[in-house]
Structures are given as C-alpha cells and as structure tokens.
Amino acid sequence: MAVVGRKVSGITRPTNTGGQDAQQIISDMLSGVDVGGYDFSGLGGGTTSNPNTGVGSILSGKAALLNAGTNADKFAYTQGQDAYAQQLAASQLEAKKKALLGLYNTNGGYDLTGILNSIQGIEDTSKQGIEGQLSSSLAGVGEGYNAASDLMNQGYSGLDEYLANNQKNAYSDVTAQGATVQNDLQNLLQGQGAMSPNVESYLQSVNANLASSQSQFQNLLNTLASIETSGQESRKKEAKMSRTSATTGLGQQRAGAEAQLRAGANQALVQLATQMAQQRLAAEQQSASNKASIAQILAEAGIDINPEKVTPVEDNPADGFTFDPTLLPDFSNLDWLGGANFGSGFLTR
C-alpha cells in the first residue's frame, strides 16, 4: 500500500497524502487489485457498502466514482491512525512487560545472594573475632595462672625450707639435772660408833626423793618435747595441706575463669548465629515479598507469573526495545533490608 509516514519505534505512521492515494486506490480497483476489503463492485451504477459502517449508498456515474475515492482515502488514513495507535500501545505494553519481567527475574534489583554473602561475611568475621578474643583471654588467664602458681610455690617453698632448717625442739635440748646429798659426818659417826642403819637408810631415802623429782621433771620434759614434735609435724602437714589446697584453689580458679570465658564466647556465638539467622530470614522474606509484589503487578498486567515460564528479558536495542524506567512502578521506597544496616556497598550492582 502506498502509504508514506514517519517511523516511530519501528511503526510507520500513515500521513494524509490526499488525492494521490485515492487515485492509486481507484486505479487498483479498476485493474482488479484488492484494496483491502472494500467492495467496489457497484461502481458501475450499483451499490457501494462501507465495511465499517455497513451503510450503503447508491451512486451513479463519475460522481459515485469520485465519492468512493474520497471515502477510501479517508478510511485508509483512519485505518493507518488506528494501526499506529494499536502498534504504539502494543509496543508500550510489550516494553512494560519486558521491563516487569526483567524486574521480576532480577527481583527488583534485590541481590539476595549478595546480601546473604555479606551476612555470611559478617558472621565469619564476628566469629573469628569472638574466637580470637577467647583465645587471647585464655592465654591471659594461663599467664596469670603461671605467675600466681610460681609466686605461691615460692611462698610455700620458703615455709618448707624454714620448717626443715630452723625449727628446733626446745624441750629435747633440755635434760633434768639431779643432785644427791652426801653424809659428810659418816667418818665421825663411824668413829663414835654412831653410824646406825637408820642414818644410812634415811640418806638413801632423801637421795631417792631427789632422784624421783629428777625423773619426774625429765618425764615432763619428754612429754613437752613430744607435744612440741607433734606440733611441728602438724605444722609441716598443715603447710603441705595449705600448699595443696592453694594449688587446687588456683587450678579451680583457672578452670572457673576459663569456663566462664568459654561460656561467654559460646553465648556470643549463639547470639551471633541467632542474629545472623534473623538477618538471613529477613532478607529472604524481603526477597520473597519483593518477588510477590512484582508477580502481583505482572498478574494484574495479564502477564504469566509462573516463574517456570518466565524467561529472562534483556535489553535488545536491535528489536527497538529500550528499557524505560519511567514505565516501571516505583520501588525506590521499598525497605529491601528490613531495617538492617550493613553499611554501604551491599546493593551496588
């Protein structure tokens, strides 16, 4: 068809070329060429019928012929206008469809994988930090234990050395001294014949009493020495027990501190894992929500929302389609991260 127009997005818009098109149509009709559904069989005085209006007219002669040419020209123009409008609408709809499908396939620019990777990176870094701090803390406790243990051993070694070398049993160094009474009148008594058994036995009795008191005092010293020895042995055992108790106490203190540190680290790791799981869940929920929102828009636009049938749509300037963001719904206000703050750069594509 001899239609001249301007090309807009691959669509030829018809222009009104006036009588030239009409003449061409008439020529085509007369030569038997199909002019697009119009029945010009009544041009010889018969009846013409407009396919659009269904209104027929009875013309005759040249006037009828001229009238038919004008109508055909007008109709051709109108038809071109309608076709252009339809093509433009279809093109816009296709562009919108492609944009929506592209948005659907890219989940509205929501990079779930990137966000999950970022969350994993944060978790790994935090976990390493917690484990590193735990290791450092345990090392510090170990150093503290070694220092405390050395100091304590020095103290009790000094006590052991003192008790072994300086402790004396004062009572064992004392011996009861004894004295006897002499009868310096013995020679006189014998010379006078006065040395009787009574004098001799009395002397022995007095010396026996002195010896008895000496023995009793020695027994007292022995008892005190034994008590002293027992006390010293008790003190040594007490020192040994104190050392053992202190050593055990330090060990328990160390174990308690280490257990507390490990428990704290475990708690921090659990808390971290919980937070990260919450972040992952929020990200996945946000992704699913985005996809559902886009799918709803697609469904409302009459586009198949079955993800299995959705094929990626890419910009292809060759087919006249250029992505036009103004045709898309505005998602700029969506909260992609559910309030999470991961710093900058996570959504950069």
Binding site: S137, G140, V141, E143, G144, Y145, A147, A148, S149, L151, M152, Q154, G155, Y156, G158, L159, Y162, Q167, A170, Y171, D173, V174, A176, Q177, A179, V181, N183, Q186, L188, L189, Q192, A194, M195, S196, N198, V199, Y202, V206, N207, N209, L210, S213, Q214, F217, L224, E228, G231, R235, E238, A239, S242, R243, A246, G249, L250, Q253, R254, G256, A257, Q260
Partner: protein, 144 residues
Amino acid sequence: MAFDMGLFEAQRRAAQTSYGANASMNAYSRFLAEQGMGQQKDVLTKQYNRALPQLMSAYGKRNVAGPNVQSGIQRRGLGDFAQQKISDFGNLTQQWQNANRQYDLQGTQLESILQQNLADLESEKARQIAEDARAILQSRAGGY
C-alpha cells in the same frame, strides 16, 4: 592484706626482742636464785659446823662422851644430828633443784614460744603470698 616483707621482718624482730628480754630476765632470775641457794647452803653449812663441836662438848660435860667413852646417848644424839643435817641439806637441795628446773622450764618455754611465733610468721607469710597469688590470677581472669 597483701604481703609486706617489711611488716614480717618487724614482727620477727619484735618476737626475737621479746624473747631476748624474757630469756635474759629468766636467766638473771635463775642466777639470783642459785646465788641465794648457795648462800643458804653456806649458812646452813656454817650452822652445822658450829653446832657439831657444841654438841660434842655438851656430851663431854655430861660425862657421856670423851676419850674412850662412848655412850648410847651420844651415839643416838650424833645419829639424830646427822639425820637432821641430811634432811636440811636434802630439803635445800630439793628447793634448789625445783627453782632451777622452774627457770629451765620457763626458758625452754620461751624458746619454744619463739620458735612457734617465728613458724607462725612464716606460715602467715606463705598464706599471704598464696592469697596474693590468688588475687593476681583473679585480676587476670577478671579483666576479660
């Protein structure tokens, strides 16, 4: 209380000084007691030395003693004199020994107390060092 070596040394010196003072006092008291006992022994010896000639003289005046004269009265009297002397010197010796033993026992107790005090100080020193060690570990463990 954190371990303070200076405080322990001061306590050690105080214990030794106290022992030295008490031991000196005890030794001096023992010396005075021995001196007193020696004087009592000398007095008693002199008394008996003076009494014996008087006793013999008394028997001579009563013609119950003398050259080639021995009587039962004199023999019994000398025997009683000898027993009394033995008894007096026996009692004096016993008193002397009891006094000496009391001073010896007191001196030994002072030495024993000193040993125990010094050992107590060493034990307390070791205990405070152990307490400091626990505090060190606590501070290291509690800092994290």
